[in-house]
Structure formats: C-alpha cells, structure tokens
C-alpha cells in the first residue's frame, strides 16, 4: 500500500474529489495547510504597517491505496488539480506498511 499525498489549490478540491471517486476511490482525508514555494504571496496593509504573507492556503489530500492503483491515482489527481499556473502543488507517494479499519478490525487492503 502507498499513501498518496497531494498539496493542491483549495478551489480544486471538488474536482479532485470527483475525479477520484470517478476511478473508484472511496476514501480520503483532507486538511488545511499553508504552502510556501515559488508562488509568491501577497501584501497586507495595517495602518502604519505592511506585511508580506508568504504562506498561502492549500489543501492536503491523503489517499491510501493498494500498490496497483498508485499510478492511476497519481495521474488522475495530477490532471484534476492542474490549472497550469504556478502554485498548483505537488503529489508525494509514501510507503505504508499496514492499515486497520477501526470499526471491524479488518487489515491492510481490506481496510481501505
């Protein structure tokens, strides 16, 4: 099993979710993160002050899948999340050694 972790633009979440469910992925976990990268941040004004905010809102999507689906999932995510503009984000693949479904105690691929 692998965990596929994608950092994407927030407004792309819906597209990514739909693309994934389209290929049969039925579970995923998402969280709000802030990204620092090539994409430049913005300036905020506050009375006498000016701040540069260089951490931008991003969404992290995590999907654990059997090995044989990894390339499919990565491909689908990458195309759904793409706008072609800087800051589109990254996809990382991590190894996962085991999985458990808490409700049933099922293990590994059966747990997904």
């Amino acid at each position: 099993m692998k965990k596929i972790e994608a950092i994407i633009k927030p407004f792309k979440l819906d597209d990514v979710k739909e693309a994934l469910t389209g290929i049969g992925v039925i579970g995923m976990t998402v969280s709000e993160v802030r990204g620092f990268g090539r994409q430049k941040g913005h300036t905020e004004l506050y009375r006498g002050g000016e701040y540069t905010v260089d951490f931008l809102p991003k969404i992290k999507v995590e999907v654990v899948t059997p090995d044989n689906l990894v390339s499919k999932v990565v491909e689908v995510m990458a195309s759904a999340a793409k706008t072609g503009n800087i800051g589109d984000g990254k996809i990382f693949v991590h190894p996962v050694e085991s999985a458990v479904r808490i409700r049933t105690g099922e293990r590994d691929e059966a747990a997904l």
């Binding site: 407004f11 802030r34 913005h42 540069t52 905010v53 260089d54 951490f55």
Partner: protein, 465 residues
C-alpha cells in the same frame, strides 16, 4: 500603478468638491448670519418639542445602526470568509459617502423646493436654509436639521441594501461611483416623488409611511437589474457558496429589528400615539414573518433554519414599512405572515430562474416591499392615522389603485435607472473584479486585508513593519 493613479485622481476630485463646496459654503452660511440669530430667538409659531426631538434623534441613531453594524453583519456573515471584510466595507463606506452627499446636495434634491413634482431644487445645497428651527412641512415640532439627518439615514441604508445583489464580485472603485450616481439619480428623485412637498406620488395620495417604495422597492428592483448585469459568481451552481459566519448574520438581523423601530416609529416625527402604533405593528409583523418563513421552510424541507427565521424577520420588517403608520396590530400579523411565506417562496424561485442575486435582495426587499406597498392599500385605516387613508378593507378600493401606480413607478425608475448607470460604469471602468481577484476574494484583492487570523498567527504572516 494604475490603481494608485486612478485613486489619486479620485482623491483629488473628492477634495476638490470638498474644498469648493465646503469652504464656499462655510462662508455662504456665515453671510446670512442675520438670519441665524433667529435660532436664538425663535419665531413663536413652530415650537420645538423636546420629547419629539429626543425621539427623532434617537430614531436617527437607530437607523444608522441598521446600516452599520446591522446590515454590514447581516450581509457580512452570509458571504464566504474571503469576502467578509469587502462586504462589510460596502455598508460602512456608503454610510460615509452618503452622509457627505446628502448634506452637500442630496437633501436638496429630495426635499428642497419642488420642481414640477419630479425633484427638489438646488436651493438647499450645502444645507443652506436648512436650519435649527422647525420646517412645518416636514415636522412642526422638531428642528429642520433633525428631520434632515433622520432622512439622511434612509438615504444611506437604501443603496447599502443593494450591495447584497452583487456581493463577492464588484470592483470597489466602480462600486463607489455607482453608489454616488444611484443616490443622486434614483434615490433622491424617488424620495421627492413620495415624500417631498409637491412630489407627484405624494400629491396623488400614495401611502408609504416609512419607505416601502422609496427604500425597499427601489433597492430590491435595482438589485435585480444589478444581478442580471453583473452575472453570476464563479462557482455558482456547483460550489457551495455558503455563509461563513451565521452568528454574525443573526446578530445583524437582530440589530435590524432593533433599529427598525427608529425607521418606522421614528417616521411619525413625533413621540405619541402614532409612533407607538407604528412601533407595535412593526414588532408584530416582524415576529409573524419570522414564523411564517420558518414554518414554510419547515413544512417544505423538513427543517426550520436559523437563517430562515432571520430572513423572515427582515422580510416582515420590509413588508410592514410602508404600512406601519396606517394599520392595526391584527392586520400587521397578516401582513407579516404572508411576507414570510412570499419571500421564502421568492428565494426558492430565484434558484430556478438562475440569476445570481447573491444575498436575495430581490426576494426579500423587492418582493417584500411590493407586497407591503400593496397591503397598505388593503389594510390602511384612518382610525389609526387620520392623516393617512382608508384601504380596500375599509371601503376605499381606490387606494389600491394609487398604490399600484406608486409601485409601478418605483419599479420602472429603479430598473431603468440602475441599468443605465451600471452600463455606463461598465463601459468606462468595468464592474467586476478579475477572475483571479474573485478567486482570491475581495478582502485581499480590493483591500489587502484578511478578516480573520484566529489561530497560529505565525502560520499566516511573516515580515515586519
């Protein structure tokens, strides 16, 4: 930068207007000093009543509260968090803009000496001749300026109501130009028609106690024009464009309810039986409308929502506004309950028609205001207000006809006028923010600010002063 340059020009124009009118008029006012001592030695007939004045000033303050923070929060809570400040700002800055516009020329256009029933003259520009003695036309027991400032608050909230229609997508600079033009070319004449001495609708006997046509139809119908011209928000129909902070919205609705007592009961321009009656029916209609909306939604969708109850209250406030000086408490229950049901239905119909009136200004103010103006024609009775009129149910079907004339006139002026103004602005400077700016939100793109930094500030910023 373009923005800086354009804004500098705006600034220049602003201060030019200010310095010309301002300084000129300080002296203009200083000149007729002989007239002013009259303030110290009032002529006998119109006598200021302290109770009436206390109530009118209180009411003026209450109506200010309706716009900011009332409406600002009501609307601000309903948008997405990235547009929260931009939305709040629209109400707040209208308060500033119109407060200046009104004393410089707005009041004169609306209430100044009549020109053919259509508009007030410029004689009262810069408040010349609008002093601290009563003007019996508008209030025999209060200083003329008290009436002026009370009316100012109405001129403020009306364009602020429209902002709900184009929420989350309008350029701030264009919005400012729109507001000034709309106030000058639509609100001021319409107020004259209905409330100005000599106004043609007033002369015809149209009843509008506190602004069903002038405030609610005008804003609701302008909202329709604006929604059609501005187009839909990005993501409309597939992304959830849902409220980001409903406690703010309910707070705003409650402040509207509170402030509306000034709006309606203040419109008696005195503190006595008429103000009391207006106060009572305002409260009753609002309550009935909140229940009307809530129960309609509960029946239709299986759940009573908080936003629904709050929206219903506002719908009731809108509907009772024109009738508030003319109807009985029992009539107000009917007016309110029907308003709750009608406006709920209108908001649902909108979803089917497909235009993006983001915060339902048409459904609440357009529909509610129209219903209220009509209902006034049904339920008005001289037992409540001998200076008013009797409606259909009190044996005078003619009143309904007069009300319909007023409704149609307001619809036409608002719709046509708003369309023309927006088309011109669109041609000259554009109306919408760019797609990227809309994605980033108005807060960042128009104001370089963000509304909330509720946790872990460290993650969201960096760099110093």
């Amino acid at each position: 930068m373009t923005t800086t340059r354009r804004s500098t020009i705006a600034l220049a124009i602003f201060f030019l207007v200010l310095s010309i009118s301002g300084s000129a008029l300080v002296w203009a006012e200083q000149a007729p000093a002989p007239a002013a001592p009259a303030a110290a030695a009032p002529a006998p007939p119109p006598k200021i009543d302290s109770g009436d004045t206390a109530w009118l000033l209180t009411s003026s303050a209450l109506v200010l509260l309706m716009t900011a923070p009332g409406l600002a929060l009501f609307y601000g809570g309903m948008v997405r968090s990235k547009n929260a400040l931009g939305t709040i700002m629209q109400s707040f800055i209208i308060l500033a803009l119109i407060s200046v516009q009104w004393v410089l020329w707005g009041y004169s256009l609306a209430f100044g000496p009549d020109k053919g029933g259509i508009v007030g003259g410029l004689e009262w520009i810069g408040l010349q001749g609008v002093g601290l003695q009563p003007n019996p036309d508008y209030g025999a027991t209060v200083p003329h300026q008290a009436y002026m400032v009370f009316q100012l608050m109405f001129a403020v909230i009306t364009p602020a109501l429209i902002t709900g229609a184009f929420a989350e997508r309008m350029k701030f600079s264009s919005f400012i130009v729109f507001t000034l033009a709309w106030a000058t070319f639509i609100y001021d004449p319409l107020a004259h028609w209905v409330w100005g001495t000599g106004g043609w609708l007033k002369n015809r006997g149209a009843l509008d106690f506190a602004g069903g046509t002038v405030v609610h139809i005008s804003s609701g119908v302008s909202a329709l024009a604006a929604a059609l011209i501005m187009g839909k928000r990005k993501g409309y129909g597939h992304e959830p464009l849902r409220p980001h902070n409903l406690p703010l919205t309910v707070t705003g609705a409650a402040l509207l309810w509170f402030g509306w007592f000034g709006f309606n009961a203040g419109s008696a321009i005195s503190a006595g039986a008429l103000a009391t009656s207006a106060f009572v029916v305002t409260n009753t209609a609002t309550a009935a409308a909140a229940l009307g909306w809530m129960f309609s939604e509960w029946a239709a969708r299986g759940k009573p929502t908080v936003l629904g109850a709050a929206s219903g209250a506002v719908a009731g406030l809108v509907a009772i506004t024109p009738a508030s000086g003319y109807v009985t408490p029992m009539a107000s229950i009917v007016i309110g309950a029907v308003a709750g049901f009608l406006c709920y239905t209108a908001c649902n119909v909108k979803t089917k028609l497909g235009y993006d009136d983001s915060l339902d200004v048409v459904g609440v103010h357009g529909v509610g205001g129209t219903w209220g103006a009509l209902a006034t024609g049904f339920f008005a009775t001289k037992t409540i207000n001998p200076d008013g009129g009797d409606g259909l149910l009190y044996g005078n079907p003619g009143q309904v006809g007069i009300q319909i004339v007023a409704i149609v006139a307001s619809w036409v002026l608002a719709f046509v006028g708003t369309t023309i103004i927006l088309k011109i602005i669109d041609a000259v400077m554009g109306l919408r923010v760019s797609a990227d700016e809309e994605m980033a939100g108005l807060d960042l793109s128009q104001h370089s600010e963000t509304a909330y930094a509720l946790e872990g500030q460290a993650t969201v910023g960096s760099g110093g002063r």
